[in-house]
Subunit: 319 residues, 2 copies
C-alpha cells in the first residue's frame, strides 16, 4: 500500500501517515532503549544482548514445541547456492525481494579500474561480477536440494533455524531486510502436508496465546511480482495455501504477520526430485516463526523492560 507524500489513505480510523509515524516512533524507542542500533540503512540493525536473549527464548519455545516429532535439526547460513533461487522459482516470483552476491573476479588491470571508480564517483559495484551464491529467500529453501530421492513411508519432519534476506527497506522495525525464521518442515504426501499445516496453525496460536500476544489467523498471499503475480496471489488465497498469524505491533488496523504456515503442494517436490515412499512427487508444508517479529511483538505488547513482563509470559519463555 502506497500513498502520495502527505496524503493519508484511510484504514478505518487510521491513516497511512499515522501508521508511518507509529512505526518510526516504535523504532526510535527501540533505538533509545538500545535493543536495536541503527546502521544508516532502513531494515538493517545491530542487536544488543537483551534483544538476543528474547530471540533465544523464543527459539527455545519453538524447539520445545516440536521436540517430540522432528527427525533432524539444521542451522542454515544466510547465503545459499544461487541455483536454489532459480529452482524454487523465487527469482521469477519475487525478483524485487531476492538478493544475489557479486564479487570481484578481475586481475591487476581490473583492480586499477576498480580503485579508480572508488576514487572518482563511487560507482564501483558495477565492476563486481555475479558469483554462484545468493541470499536465502526462505528458511526452508536450502533444505530441499539434499532431500532429493525417496522419503521414508511416514514422510519426514525437519526443524530449521534459518536466516532470510528480503530487499525491502522500511522504517517499520518489524520489516527487517535480514531476519531469522525458525521453521518446522514436513515432506511427504498431500494429506500429511495439509495436516502438518493445519496442526501448526493451531499450535502456533496456542504458543502465541501463552506469550499473551493478541494473535489471529488469517488467509494470506505472498507478494508475487507484477501483473502475473496478481493472478498467482489470487490463486494462493483461493486455495487457502498460506495462513498467517497476525498480531498488532504498530497498529490494530494493520496487524503484522509474525508466524506463517504454508502448504507448498508439490512445488518443491517437483523442483528438487523428492518422492514419497510410493514414488509420487512429494508434497511439503512448513510453519515459520518470525523470531525478530515475535520479539518485537513482545516488546510492543508487554513493554521495553522484559524483567517486568507478566509472570505468565516469563514462565512461557522459561525465564
Amino acid at each position: 500500500m502506497t500513498a502520495p507524500a502527505g496524503v493519508g489513505v484511510s484504514l478505518g480510523d487510521f491513516s497511512v501517515d499515522d501508521l508511518e509515524t507509529s512505526r518510526r516512533e516504535f523504532r526510535q524507542q527501540l533505538f533509545d532503549a538500545g535493543f536495536l542500533v541503527p546502521t544508516g540503512v532502513d531494515g538493517l540493525y545491530l542487536r544488543d544482548e537483551r534483544f538476543e536473549q528474547i530471540a533465544r527464548a523464543i527459539d527455545a519455545v519453538v524447539s520445545r514445541s516440536c521436540a517430540g516429532e522432528v527427525g533432524r535439526t539444521y542451522h542454515f547460513p544466510l547465503v545459499m547456492a544461487r541455483s536454489v533461487l532459480e529452482a524454487t522459482d523465487y527469482v521469477r516470483s519475487f525478483p524485487q525481494l531476492a538478493g544475489i552476491v557479486n564479487s570481484f573476479d578481475g586481475g591487476d588491470r581490473e583492480h586499477r579500474r576498480l580503485l579508480g571508480a572508488i576514487d572518482k564517483d563511487g560507482d564501483w559495484p558495477q565492476l563486481m561480477a555475479p558469483t554462484d551464491l545468493g541470499l536465502c529467500s526462505a528458511a526452508c529453501h536450502p533444505l530441499y536440494p539434499p532431500q532429493q530421492g525417496r522419503l521414508p513411508a511416514r514422510g519426514r519432519v525437519v526443524e530449521v533455524y534459518g536466516q532470510v534476506f528480503r530487499h525491502e527497506p522500511s522504517v517499520d522495525p518489524a520489516r527487517m531486510q535480514v531476519f531469522r525464521q525458525h521453521e518446522v518442515v514436513y515432506l511427504g504426501d498431500a494429506d500429511g502436508a495439509r495436516h502438518h499445516r493445519d496442526r501448526w496453525v493451531e499450535r502456533g496460536l496456542e504458543i502465541h496465546h501463552r506469550l499473551r500476544l493478541d494473535i489471529e489467523a488469517e488467509i494470506a498471499n505472498d507478494p508475487f511480482f507484477g501483473r502475473t503475480g496478481e493472478v498467482l496471489a489470487a490463486g494462493q488465497r483461493a486455495e487457502v495455501l498460506k495462513v498467517e498469524l497476525v498480531c498488532p505491533i504498530c497498529s490494530f488496523d494493520e496487524p503484522t504477520a509474525i508466524t506463517s504456515a504454508n502448504c507448498h503442494l508439490d512445488h518443491f517436490g517437483a523442483a528438487f526430485g523428492i518422492e514419497t515412499s510410493d514414488g509420487d512427487v512429494a508434497h511439503s508444508a512448513c510453519v515459520g516463526f518470525g523470531i525478530e517479529r515475535i520479539a518485537l511483538a513482545l516488546l510492543h505488547t508487554h513493554g521495553l523492560e522484559p524483567s517486568r513482563w507478566p509472570a505468565a509470559v516469563r514462565d512461557s519463555l522459561a525465564w
Copy 2:
C-alpha cells in the same frame, strides 16, 4: 598457494596434493557423520544441531573470558551497509573476498526480460542491480560507524557476535565462505590498543590450551590483493600488527589460523571519526575467535564423538 594440476609443491615432508586429499577426507568425514551437509558449493554448508552445540559452547567460553571487562555485547547480521566496505578500505584491499548484494529494481518490462533470461540461458544475474548492501567483511566492521564521536577516558571494550563472508570457495572445511567471528574490540589510545592485543594473544593461547588444542602464536598478514598488496602485507608483518593463533587441522605442516588478534592503528578511528577523550584520532584493536574453525579443530583433534572428548575439554566447554 596454487600448484598446476597433479603437481605437488613440497611443504617439508608434505605436498599440496597430500594437503588437498587430507582436507577432502576430513570434509567427507564431517559429511558422513552429519555435522555438515553439502550444498553443492565449496565452503558453504548446512550445519546440524550437534555442530551448533559445539559452536554455542565455544561462544560461551569466549563470553565468560571477557565478561568482566566488556561494556556492551552486540550481535550483527551478515549483511551491512555497503558504504562500510568502502570506508574500511576492504573493497580496495580484498576485492576478491568482498561481497555486495544485487537485487532487481525494474518494472514489468524488465521483469519479462528477466524471465526470458532465466528460460534461455540462465544468465539473469547480470539483470540484477547493486543495492546499498554488502556482506560483512570482518565481525567488527559494522561496529565502527555508530562509535563516531568521542570515547570515554578509559576507552571502550565491546563484545561482538559477528558473521563474516569471504568469497573463497575451497574444499578445506576450515575455509568456509560464511562463518562466525566472536570478537572483543578495544577503542581508545595507541597504548591501550597494543595492550589489548597482546593481552588477548596470551588469553587466547590459554583458552585453546584448556581445550587441549595444539596451538601456537604466529606473526601474520592479511591476503591483500595484487602487487600493491604485497607491499601492504610486508608492512603489516614488519610492524607486527597481526598475530594468528594456529592449530593443525588437516596438516601439521600448514596449520590453520583459528583465532587472530590485530592492531588496526588509527585506521578505523580516522575512517569513522572516532576520537579519544583527548581529541586524538582513536586507535583500535580486536581479537577474533573463529567459531567454526575452533569447532573443526576440536572435532579433528578429539574425534567425531564429542561425548567421548577428554574430560578436561568437556569441563572447559562447561559440558
